[in-house]
């Protein structure tokens, strides 16, 4: 079984977010980068599926050279080889086109990724890749088992869960509890040194979205406690300050 796992290179979840250049660029100073947490679940499940069924795992990232430590970590966790599309992941459609292009070349049985990245949180790439490739896409996938050429999937839907069976190939946007994150061990880190990491050019530079400006949300204010006897004050606050009445 050939598995393609698409990973994002995103700021750590504890990063302090700020902007530069008149709020048009993300300030990377002091920011630690990680494999997107949802992508990390997808990778962990891919490693488990490979252990069960054999095959190979290719990890794919659309990003500039700075993402290579993140890709090496994915190789240390258990991917066999990596491809980096040498381009800034400027918008979801651009990224989806790059993934579809690589995926068509590789004839993969499964294309896994996180349900969304945790920087822009678009959650669009898996379905766009599906459309571009003419393949089904499913998200958010919480259970994924393979029997023969069929996948048994459980996903969360509004107000419940959906169980489905799907023939490979397809695209899945993954989330917990599909697998537990894997911590790379020292032997994995050592072997990742020599695993192939291929750098390819983007298919086109057709960027369709451009950032005008970033804005931070207003800081959360402290909770106000109102005496239960003082209903007038409560009404006044709800009406004039919270503006919900």
């Amino acid at each position: 079984m050939k598995i393609l796992v698409c990973i994002t290179h995103v700021p750590d979840t504890t990063s302090k977010i700020s902007f530069t250049d008149g709020n048009t660029k993300f300030d990377k100073t002091g920011v630690q980068y990680i494999i997107g947490p949802y992508d990390d679940y997808a990778l962990a499940r891919a490693v488990e599926l490979k252990e069960q069924h054999g095959g190979s795992i290719t990890v794919l990232n659309v990003g500039e050279a700075e993402t290579e430590p993140t890709i090496r970590k994915a190789l240390a966790i258990g991917a066999d080889e990596a491809i980096r599309v040498n381009a800034f992941p400027s918008d979801a459609f651009f990224v989806a086109k790059q993934i579809a292009s690589v995926a068509k070349e590789g004839a993969y049985d499964l294309i896994l990724m996180g349900r969304e990245s945790i920087d822009f949180n678009g959650g669009q790439v898996h379905s766009m890749v599906g459309e571009l490739m003419g393949l089904p896409s499913v998200s958010p996938v919480m259970v994924l088992d393979i029997e023969g050429s069929t996948a048994k999937i459980q996903r969360e839907i509004e107000g419940g869960k959906e169980f489905m069976e799907l023939d490979m190939p397809f695209i899945a946007g993954c989330q917990e509890p599909i697998a537990e994150w894997k911590i790379p061990n020292m032997r994995g880190i050592m072997s990742a040194r020599s695993k192939p990491l291929q750098v390819v050019d983007p298919t086109d530079d057709g960027v369709q979205a451009d950032v005008e400006v970033f804005e931070l949300p207003p800081a959360k204010e402290a909770v106000k406690l109102v005496d239960p006897e003082n209903l007038d004050e409560l009404v006044n606050l709800l009406k004039n300050e919270a503006k919900v009445l």
Partner: protein
């Protein structure tokens, strides 16, 4: 992108560690580490957050060695990371080894002791002084955690003076007969094998691999410790133990052989204790910012800031010493005296930081809610084992003056 979205989704997706430790890096030493070093550090840090910190206070309080940690250490690759891959090791450099010890000891000195005894005091001598057959027989199982090892040098009457050891072997033709006792041996009660140092009939110190199950070999546990309570300590008692001749380490003998192992272990301690110090510092820094007295955080008082500033200064100096010592180790140039300086200095600053950090926490600092008392009690062992604080001064004194003042 918005902070709100990042935070909300980030928290939902965040690793489920309650422990959010990040190490201070005041002099930007991360710039001197490779991406691989940083990945090694973050991997071991995640391992410690998952497998050690959630449980360590209970293990220490209950004086319980978590036996399953041995296979987990094996799986993550904490045993013998510098031993070549062909023998099951990690094939990594000494900076990597140091970072691994730092992160494990950030969790607990007892846990680090288990790992560094296995790597530096059991696997290293078998690799460096052992025969090819011995390497192939023991190293892969020790690396994977299938086997646990211990190191027998210290005796009831010979601690700082190992050359005076009484444990001895007698050549019986087709085997050696081993008699004597070793004391304060980490891992002993659970160990499958022991690397033991004993004098032959000519008074020459030889290394032997003793296996559990050999007749006359017992490992009584040492009880009543107030330190390293999550690691197991015991004695090695040899009463007419028949040791096959192929169990002798053939490629080095004399006191220099065990001291060569101690150099590796002391190097690991120099890194490890900085982990413990950073844990105490981070806990104190956070507590000082949260705890309010006189209507403001105690971090706003000068005497608390003085403590924190001195802690960070000493941690930074120790980090610099470790980084340079790691490079010297990789180049094969580190001397025993350089390792002594680092071990002695870093354990001392870690102990002082644990005590100061405990004070910043006030009464809360004496409880198991915070790590300082456990680190402090652990470090009282670390300041004594692998060469006491004073013996390392004498090693340096010898180096400076050329005059040994050991006895």
């Amino acid at each position: 992108m918005s902070t709100d979205t990042l935070t909300q989704n980030g928290q939902a997706a965040k690793r489920s560690f309650t422990d959010d430790f990040e190490s201070p890096d005041f002099y930007q030493l991360d710039d001197l580490l490779t991406d691989e070093h940083k990945l090694i550090r973050s991997s071991i840090r995640d391992f410690v957050k998952k497998e050690i910190t959630p449980y360590i206070e209970d293990w220490a309080e209950n004086n319980q060695f978590p036996a399953d940690i041995v296979s987990k250490f094996g799986e993550i690759g904490a045993f013998g990371p510098t031993v070549p891959v062909d023998y099951g090791g990690g094939g990594l450099d000494y900076t990597s080894y140091g970072l691994i010890m730092q992160e494990i000891e950030r969790g607990d000195s007892g846990m680090r002791s288990t790992a560094s005894v296995q790597g530096s005091l059991v696997m290293y001598p078998i690799y460096a002084y052992g025969s090819e057959e011995q390497r192939k027989k023991y190293l892969p199982k020790l690396a994977s955690g299938e086997m646990l090892g211990c190191f027998g040098l210290t005796e009831p009457n010979h601690g700082s003076n190992p050359g005076g050891m009484e444990t001895h072997i007698k050549d019986m033709g087709d085997h050696f007969l081993l008699n004597g006792a070793k004391m304060w041996i980490s891992n002993a009660p659970k160990a499958d094998i022991a690397v033991v140092w004993a004098k032959n009939q000519d008074g020459r110190i030889k290394g032997l691999i003793i296996e559990r199950g050999m007749e006359g070999f017992t490992t009584p546990e040492t009880h009543g410790k107030w330190s390293l309570r999550a690691s197991c300590t015991g004695e090695l008692v040899f009463s007419d133990v028949k040791v096959p001749k192929e169990n002798v380490l053939p490629n080095k003998d004399g006191l220099g052989a065990p001291l060569g192992c101690l150099d590796k272990a002391r190097y690991g301690i120099a890194w490890g204790v900085v982990g413990a110090a950073m844990d105490c510092y981070e806990s104190a820094r956070k507590y000082a910012l949260e705890r309010e007295q006189f209507g403001k955080p105690i971090a706003s008082f000068q005497l608390v800031q003085k403590k924190l500033a001195e802690m960070l200064t000493e941690i930074t100096k120790a980090q610099l010493v470790n980084w340079r010592l790691g490079k010297l180790m990789d180049e094969g140039k580190a001397t025993s005296a350089q390792i002594s300086l680092a071990k002695r200095n870093n354990v001392e600053i870690a102990l002082n930081i644990a005590r100061e950090a405990r004070q910043i926490h006030g009464g809360m600092g004496i409880t198991g809610e915070y790590p300082m008392m456990r680190h402090m009690m652990n470090l009282e062992s670390v300041v004594t084992y692998e060469g006491t604080h004073d013996i390392h001064l004498l090693i340096l004194g010898h180096k400076i003056t050329g005059i040994p003042a050991f006895g």
